[in-house]
Amino acid sequence: MIRDYGLNEFFFIATAIQWTLALSLIAFGGGILGGLIIALMRVADAKPFRWFALGFIRFFQGTPLLMQLFVAYFGMAIIGLPTNPWIAAAVALTLHASAFLGEIWRGCIEAVPAGQREASTALSFSYWVRMRYVILPQAARIAVAPTTGFLVQLIKATSLASIIGFTELTRAGQIISNATFKPFIVISTVAVFYFLLCWPLSLLASRMEQRFSRATTR
């Protein structure tokens, strides 16, 4: 039976925004924590940490997110856990975000002038004191704009979680599209919702970038 595309169908899609947002926030929150750990390991004094972080980043940058989602989803079954699209999507996207934020923030940490690190070392600060009080506060200022930019990417990337049966915005659109046979109008609606989520963030990111470049060119 073919349904019409009416208000009910529209609201079905609209309410799925919350799952896209929830998944984005989990992945972003986890990614902030994981990314910080990866970035700190990436610039650690001890080589094993640097190598581990580099391997982690290379793996997640060098494989498609879709494949990472599959591995997380089917991997759960292999280690004997019940397959759960929520957990699989959250884990895969968190690790994905950790790798990318880790690499973004490594760049920000390295953009802090070398003299800051040297002065800290000469004052015999430990790695932690140097990072916590000298390097990270300065790197954070540089990091705000690219991090917001990555959040936009992450929101769009959650659409891939539909493939493992996670009902977020894209999956809701597919369900309605299959029931109504009106893919063009349905998918356009979905696209508009994504745009409304991402556009303000993009604006925010570019505004912060401008403010930062003004602050540094002075």
Binding site: D45, P113, G115, Q116, E118, A119, T121, A122, L123, S124, F125, S126, Y127, V129, Y133, V134, P137, Q138
Partner: protein, 258 residues
């Protein structure tokens, strides 16, 4: 030769190990041999000025002393203790050594006072009130007590460099290293920084200064060292160094300065 016997007699008299002892130090940057078999001995309270053309290894030499660069071979002793290669040993040695950089390297997101108290609080474990008391005393000594609550960007270059000196002194080091401290300054600010360094020298601080300020070398240094191509070419008292340089290269260098 006479120089050496004089130093030996002096250190035997007070029976303390030399502040710094560098023994056949070699440093490489890739294929570039930056320091070639450098030997240097600095006694407690001695003031050394190191000069030489750019790229001659002066900065590398003093950066080896607090392990901002690592020597490939040779040994360095600070107050009689050989420098440890592990991180905590290196940190312990650095607590004895303050360093002042050409580009000041103040922490731009902290006030002058915070710049000066971070080390005493986080490294020496002093309570905040005591750290601030020490910091204010040293800011007073470099004659900028009124700038304590400003940010580095609000200060002139000369003031920033004096804050950098105060920040290093707050760790209460026994040795101070200066890496071209006046080279990034406008000419009218050079004097205020040099005056601060002269004050420090009068108080008996062990100082090693890489500088092209020959007036400072003449009036303050116990010994002047000339380096070229990673080697110590000449080592002499300031009077002899300027009046009767031994080597041809020293003569050429001094000729270019005037």
């Amino acid at each position: 030769m006479t120089q050496e016997t004089k130093i030996d007699a002096k250190s035997a008299a007070d029976a303390r190990p030399p502040a710094i002892e560098m023994d056949s130090i070699n440093t490489w940057f890739g294929d570039f041999h930056a320091l070639k078999n450098v030997n240097l001995r600095v006694d407690l309270g001695e003031r050394i000025v190191i000069c030489g053309p750019s790229g001659s290894g002066k900065s590398t030499l003093i950066r080896c002393i607090n392990q901002l660069e690592t020597a490939r071979d040779g040994t360095i002793r600070i107050n009689g203790t050989a420098l440890a290669q592990d991180a905590s040993g290196a940190r312990a040695a650095r607590q004895e050594i303050g360093m002042v950089f050409q580009q000041f390297n103040l922490f731009p997101h902290m006030t002058v006072l915070e710049n000066c108290t971070l080390g005493p609080i986080k490294v020496a474990g002093k309570p905040k009130a005591e750290a601030e008391k020490i910091a204010r005393a040293y800011l007073d000594r470099v004659r900028i007590p009124e700038q304590a609550d400003k940010y580095p960007a609000q200060l002139s270059g000369g003031q920033q460099q004096r804050v950098a000196i105060a920040r290093a002194l707050c760790m209460q080091p026994r040795i101070m290293l200066f890496d071209e401290p006046t080279s990034a300054l406008d000419p009218e600010m050079v004097k205020e920084v040099l005056d601060t360094m002269i004050d420090l020298a009068k108080d008996g601080m062990t100082m090693i200064c890489v500088t092209h300020e020959m007036g400072f070398a003449r009036s303050v240094a116990d010994r002047v060292i000339f380096m070229d191509h990673g080697e110590i070419i000449e080592e002499n008292s300031p009077e002899l160094f300027f009046k009767a340089p031994k080597s041809r290269r020293t003569k050429d260098f001094l000729g270019q300065l005037i």
